[in-house]
Structures are given as structure tokens and as C-alpha cells.
């Protein structure tokens, strides 16, 4: 660990802190008071005309229905684009149709904002598939996440006087606003900044060159910058190339690395401010943000420390190991640039990688797993991060209520049995899918055949795959060859359920909450702001989120750690 490393962490979080308020206010105005932007209003009128619908308020069922129909249609369209690839334009390398199991996995993966990539992009996807199909879903899956959050938070903050709970907004309007006013302008600026640093953007075929020494090498090309920008801004994480953000054409300089990390946490962080405005309590918004920052800093300091350690199995060799564990990391980013990126990509649901998570030290890899397992609520994915955080807040308020023996309230509304059951169900769903999926894989010889590492680390690879898919992260311990029918199909199912079931539960909570009577806070009301609440929230996240997985982490990363220091290799 170096002073310069600590400075880089400080710089990133300070920049974020300064951007939270302006971006948060912008987001609030875009969604809640769009009349402030006359240009947007005119554009929106046109868009709504083209799409032939009236922006009426929806109740939670109608909102959910629109959301599901749009996303299932997205899977179908993306699947077709991949299967029809040879007949579509912009395919200079003449790639064949993507095999159906892989195409289904990829379609679900990009629609659910996971961007798990069981394929290596260079020899699989044409420019058309990447640009039109995958980039498009990068935008709208991020928009879906924003919409889910908006409906949920409106359910909590608004109050419906009639029994008709029709105050959750309109899914199509929220989606279009996200795409046209948030992600397109944001991605546009970021893409140009990337290009200025050396990220490529062209439609040339793969270039064959003669090197300085006379050898032959291939240089892959493509429209990278446009996809790269939304990949990070929309916390998608699917790289244009197989090497993802480690590829110098995707992430050429330390500055692009910084910008990618900032883009990942910018919107999820700013949403806490937007949320504060929606519930008319900026203090509560900041409290959530501070809890996120504390959890994130704990993660980064731990990973940075572990990745700076020497590998004991290399002791006695004629090596200068001073920098730390550089296997699977790029020199331009160094240990900190890789560790910080890995921490933030698992804090959020981004899943872009600029280093090989598989080659992390056992405990460095453990933190990555933990970040995802606690639910990606530390910033989290755009929209869905705060969405899941609100579920944790409901549980925290419930627990505080149990401790003081009063009916729990949140935002002046009573939290009752049904809401708590739904919130718990959503959080209990993840271990169910992850542990069952990993258990079946471990028992199946063919699934074990995909492993490239032995011993406890092999187990961690499988655990990571189901964790990443279920929580829609998309990063991987890449030593696992996941392009088999079993992994493609089971992971596709995990991604789909892991995405839409919690959205269903959250929106139904919103439907219940919007109709509740507002009660004035009394002396017995547990405050959902301030230091006490922040620590309670962090405690609940770590206990409920992490303890569930303690046994499974013990037989993966922990045993690997003991093996490493006892000199055992596999």
C-alpha cells in the first residue's frame, strides 16, 4: 500500500462527493418536474406520439406488467439478432449465428443488466450485434433499473387518498426519460472523453500487421467507445472485447480507468440525493450515502491490503515482489487501480473488470464475493442498488421496532407483516438460487469439467458464477468455462429470477405502502437518519446479508487462504 494509492482513493471519493448534489438534482428534475426543461417536453411529446400511448399514471400491477412485457420482448429481439447475425450488415469477419443456448444466455444477460459473457466477443459477435443489439440493451436495461427504483420510491414517498393506488408513475415515460435525458447525454460526453484518451471507434475489419521484429499479429477493431461509455454509466459491464476493461483499446490510460470507476458509482450515488428530494428529507438521503461510502471504503482498504501481499508460494525464488500480486493485473493501473476498480465493480452491479478476479489473493477475492453477496447495495446498479437498499432499510426499521417494542414506521407509514415478509423473501431468494445452483454444479461431473483451477479455488469459481449471475453483476472468476449448456441455461435462469422477482416484490411493497395513512412522528419513532441509523443499517446489511453465506465462504476462500500460507498448491 502506498501513499499515492491512498491519494487516488481520496480523489475518487472527493470527486464523487462534489458531483452527488448537481447530478442528484438533475435526476430529480428530469423525472419529477420535467416541465423545467421546455426542450425535453417538446421531444417527449413527439416520442409519445410515435410510440402511440398516453402517459397515464399506473398502479403497481400495471407498472410491473409494462416492465415485464418490455423486458421479455427485449430478450426475444436480442436472441433473434444473434441468431440472424450472418444475414445482417456490419459483419466484416463473417461470424456465424451464435449457438442457441449461448444466444439465450447472452440475451437474458444483457436484458437483466448482468452482462455475464459466456463467450469471448472477438470471435463471436459481429459489429452489428454488439452495436445495435448489445449497446441498445445496455441503455434500456439501465433504464429499467431506474424505472423500478422510481416506482418503488414513489410508493414510499407519495400518499394516495383514494383506494385507487395510481400514483406510481408511468413505466414507459420513466424508461424513455432515463434513456433520452440521462443515459444518452451522459454516455455521449463520456464516450468522447474516452476517445480523447485512445479508446477506438471505427468499423474497420481486424487488422493484420507486421511487427517491428517481423512477426505477424492481429489487431481487433470496432465501435468500442460508444459501447464502453454506457457499459460503465449504466453499470452494465459487458466488454466489447473478452478482456473487458483490461484491454488497452477499452481502457487505455489511468485517466480512463478513473473515469470508468467514477461513471459506475455516479448515478447510483447521486440517486441517494434524488431520493432525499423525493421523500423531502435530504438528511435521510445523505445517511444512506454515508452508509454506502463506509461499506465501500472498508472493502477497498481490505482488497488493497490483500493484493499488496506477496505470494508465499513464490518465496525463495529470485524475485522482487515489492509491488504485490501483479498476476492478472495491468502495469498502467497497478495494484490500487485494479483493486479499487474490482471493489467498485462488485459494489455496483457493473461487473466490468480491468484485472482477473480469478487471480486475486484468496481474501482479496473473498471481499469481491462478499460485495456481491450482501446484495450490491453499496451504490449498487443504477436504480436497483438503491431499490435493494430500501428493502434493507425496511428490514432495519423492522428490527429496530422489535428492539424497542413499537410498531415500526418508515416515512410516517406503518411497516406491517406483509411488507416485512416481502422484503425478507427478496433477500432470502438470493441464497436459495446461489447455493442450490452451486450445489448442483459441484455434484455434476460435467459441470466440474469446466474448472481450470483445483482445490478450494475451483469451488470459489462456481460459487462466484452463481453469485454474479443471480445478483446481475456479470464479472467472473473467468477460469470457469461457462459456455456449456448447463451453465448457459442455469445461469440464464438465475439472472432472470434474480432480476425480476425482487422487482416484483419491491413493487408490490410500493403498492401496499402508497395507500397507507401518514402518521405524525412521535418520540418513539425510530429516526431513519443520523449516526445511529447508519450503524444499524450497516450492521443489518453485514449480519443478514453476509452471515448467510459464511459457511460457504469458509469452504471456499478461507480454506484457500490457509492452504496458501501452509504452502499447498493444486
Amino acid at each position: 500500500m502506498t501513499l499515492n494509492g491512498i491519494l487516488q482513493i481520496a480523489l475518487l471519493f472527493t470527486t464523487l462527493l462534489f458531483l452527488i448534489k448537481p447530478v442528484g438534482i438533475y435526476l430529480y428534475r428530469v423525472y419529477e418536474t420535467p416541465s423545467l426543461f421546455p426542450l425535453f417536453n417538446r421531444l417527449e411529446g413527439k416520442l409519445l406520439n410515435w410510440c402511440c400511448f398516453k402517459p397515464e399514471q399506473q398502479n403497481w400491477k400495471a407498472y410491473l406488467k409494462s416492465l415485464l412485457i418490455f423486458n421479455i420482448m427485449g430478450v426475444a429481439i436480442l436472441f433473434c439478432i444473434q441468431r440472424l447475425q450472418p444475414f445482417l450488415p456490419l459483419n466484416p469477419e463473417n461470424f456465424q449465428a451464435v449457438p442457441w443456448a449461448l444466444a439465450l444466455n447472452t440475451a437474458v444477460s444483457f436484458v437483466t443488466n448482468t452482462n455475464w459473457q459466456a463467450y469471448s466477443s472477438e470471435p463471436t459477435m459481429s459489429y452489428f450485434t454488439q452495436m445495435v443489439g448489445l449497446t441498445w440493451q445496455n441503455f434500456v436495461s439501465a433504464g429499467t433499473g431506474m424505472a423500478a427504483f422510481l416506482a418503488f420510491s414513489r410508493g414510499l414517498s407519495r400518499h394516495s387518498t383514494s383506494s385507487q393506488d395510481i400514483l406510481l408513475g408511468n413505466f414507459w415515460v420513466d424508461l424513455l426519460r432515463s434513456v433520452f435525458y440521462v443515459f444518452l447525454p451522459g454516455a455521449f460526453i463520456i464516450a468522447l472523453l474516452f476517445i480523447s484518451q485512445g479508446v477506438i471507434q471505427n468499423f474497420s475489419p481486424t487488422l493484420e500487421i507486421t511487427t517491428l521484429e517481423g512477426g505477424r499479429e492481429l489487431i481487433s477493431m470496432g465501435p468500442v467507445a460508444s459501447q464502453e461509455a454506457i457499459k460503465v454509466l449504466g453499470t452494465n459491464g459487458g466488454g466489447f472485447f473478452g478482456a473487458n476493461s483490461a484491454h488497452p483499446f477499452e481502457n487505455p490510460t489511468p485517466f480512463t480507468n478513473f473515469l470508468q470507476m467514477l461513471s459506475m458509482i455516479l448515478i447510483p450515488g447521486a440517486l441517494t440525493y434524488t431520493y432525499g428530494k423525493m421523500i423531502q428529507s435530504q438528511k435521510q438521503g445523505w445517511s444512506i450515502f454515508i452508509a454506502m461510502v463506509i461499506l465501500s471504503l472498508m472493502g477497498i482498504l481490505a482488497i488493497y491490503y490483500f493484493e499488496s501481499q506477496l505470494n508465499p508460494l513464490l518465496h525463495g525464488l529470485d524475485l522482487d515482489q515489492t509491488p504485490g500480486n501483479l498476476e492478472g493485473k495491468e502495469v498502467r493501473f497497478g495494484i490500487l487501480g485494479s483493486a479499487l476498480f474490482a471493489n467498485l465493480t462488485t459494489d455496483t452491479s457493473c461487473g466490468a473488470t480491468n484485472c482477473l478476479h480469478d487471480s486475486f489473493t484468496p481474501l482479496g477475492g473473498l471481499i469481491l464475493l462478499l460485495n456481491i453477496l450482501i446484495g450490491e447495495i453499496v451504490f449498487g446498479g443504477v436504480g436497483v442498488g438503491l431499490f435493494n437498499m430500501l428493502l434493507f432499510i425496511i428490514i432495519s426499521v423492522f428490527m429496530a421496532g422489535l428492539m424497542v417494542g413499537r410498531t415500526p414506521e418508515y416515512l410516517g407509514k406503518k411497516i406491517e407483516g406483509k411488507e416485512v415478509r416481502f422484503a425478507i423473501l427478496s433477500i432470502a431468494l438470493y441464497p436459495l438460487i446461489i447455493l442450490v445452483g452451486a450445489a448442483i454444479s459441484v455434484l455434476s461431473p460435467s459441470a466440474l469439467g469446466s474448472l481450470h483451477n483445483g482445490g478450494p479455488h475451483g469451488f470459489s469459481e462456481i460459487l462466484y458464477a452463481y453469485t454474479s449471475a443471480t445478483h446481475n453483476n456479470g464479472s467472473a472468476f473467468d477460469g470457469l468455462d461457462a459456455n456449456t449448456s448447463w451453465y448457459n441455461l442455469s445461469l440464464a435462469l438465475a439472472m432472470f429470477v434474480g432480476r425480476f422477482f425482487p422487482i416484483y416484490l419491491g413493487l408490490s411493497i410500493a403498492g401496499l405502502m402508497v395507500n397507507k395513512k401518514i402518521i405524525q412522528p412521535s418520540a418513539g419513532t425510530f429516526p431513519t437518519q443520523g449516526a445511529l441509523f447508519i450503524w444499524l443499517l450497516i450492521g443489518v446489511i453485514l449480519i443478514v446479508g453476509a452471515l448467510t453465506f459464511f459457511p460457504v465462504l469458509a469452504i471456499g476462500p478461507f480454506i484457500e487462504y490457509i492452504d496458501l500460507w501452509q504452502g499447498r498448491s493444486f
Binding site: L11, C51, F53, V132, T211, P248, L314, E330, V331, S569
Partner: protein, 184 residues
């Protein structure tokens, strides 16, 4: 339901057109006119105009009169406890340790995440310098001076690590001391 499907389809088409077609082509046009060298891959050309590489991508060097980059391993994604990783690193050490008796900087025996890492650390360049000086028959001082001149500092003084681009370093060697003969 039918109405919902119709809306879903038209919203899909409109978003697909703007995000998947208009946006990437606009970025290609604007990016290409502002930074044509960068959008096409930062390609380095020789006098005849033939491309000899990209300044962003690693290329292989075997000639001992050139600096060599980090190894590009067949098998990556190996855990720290992997036998394969340990034997691979040992083999690499055996291969290069005759160059210099000092401990080998770790980046020269570990593979990068992309396999395309164009850089090595300053320590790694200095470690290779005596061999370059020997094969090019120049004073070691000149090589270390060249390394110091081409060293890239952390961006804006804080971001990233101090490093050397191997291809640029080797091109500078050729400019200063001529193209090496034979060796391969």
C-alpha cells in the same frame, strides 16, 4: 395486453434506433473528426506507411537487443495456489535470469489481465538495460538515460503507476542506436 405489446414494440424500435444506430454513428463521426489517430487504434507506421503496431498494444520481442514485454501466457485466470502458475513462473525465471543477477521485477514473470499490456515497470526496464547495452554495444549510461526520458509518470501526478511503453522504447532504441542486425 395487445396494446401493451404494441407500445413495447414501438418503444423498443425507437430506443434501438437512437441508442444502437444514431448514437454510435454520431460518436464515430464526431470522435473520428476530432481524434482520427486515436479512434483508428493509435497505429504507428513506418516510412513506407505500413502499420508496425499500436502504441497501446503489446507486441512480442525476442531479439536480445530489444526490451521484451510481460509474458503472454496461454493459460490465464490461475489462482495464487495454482501449481500451473507456480511452475510457469519458475520456468520464466529460469529462462531470463541469466540476463541479470539482481532479483527479477515481478511484472516480468507474471502475465497481465489482457495479455496485451504494452507497459513494463521502470524497475523491469532498468533490470533489462545491461543486456540491451551489451547487445547494442553502447554504454549502459545511454540506455538508462533513454529509460528515464521515456518513462511515463502517473497521469496528472496521481493516477496510475510510473511505467514504460515497450514498443516506444524499442523504436527509440532503433532511432538512437540503429536497427539491430541478426540476433534472431
Amino acid at each position: 395486453m395487445k396494446k401493451d405489446l404494441l407500445i413495447a414494440f414501438s418503444v423498443s424500435l425507437i430506443t434501438l434506433f437512437f441508442t444502437g444506430v444514431v448514437y454510435p454513428f454520431l460518436i464515430t463521426q464526431i470522435g473520428g473528426s476530432l481524434f482520427p489517430y486515436k479512434t483508428s487504434g493509435s497505429l504507428i507506421k513506418d516510412e513506407q506507411g505500413g502499420v508496425i503496431g499500436s502504441e497501446l498494444l503489446r507486441q512480442n520481442f525476442k531479439n536480445p537487443a530489444y526490451f521484451f514485454p510481460r509474458p503472454s501466457a496461454e493459460e490465464t485466470n490461475l489462482a495464487p495456489t495454482s501449481k500451473l502458475l507456480i511452475t510457469r513462473i519458475q520456468a520464466r525465471i529460469a529462462e531470463i535470469k541469466k540476463i541479470n543477477t539482481n532479483p527479477i521485477p515481478i511484472d516480468l514473470v507474471t502475465s497481465s489481465a489482457s495479455g496485451l499490456d504494452p507497459h513494463i515497470s521502470k524497475e523491469a526496464a532498468l533490470w533489462q538495460a545491461p543486456q540491451i547495452a551489451l547487445h547494442r554495444n553502447v554504454n549502459l549510461k545511454h540506455i538508462t538515460a533513454l529509460i528515464e526520458r521515456l518513462r511515463e509518470s502517473p497521469q496528472f501526478y496521481v493516477l496510475g503507476e510510473s511505467r514504460l511503453n515497450v514498443l516506444k522504447l524499442n523504436l527509440a532504441l532503433d532511432v538512437s542506436f540503429g536497427v539491430p542486425v541478426g540476433g534472431l
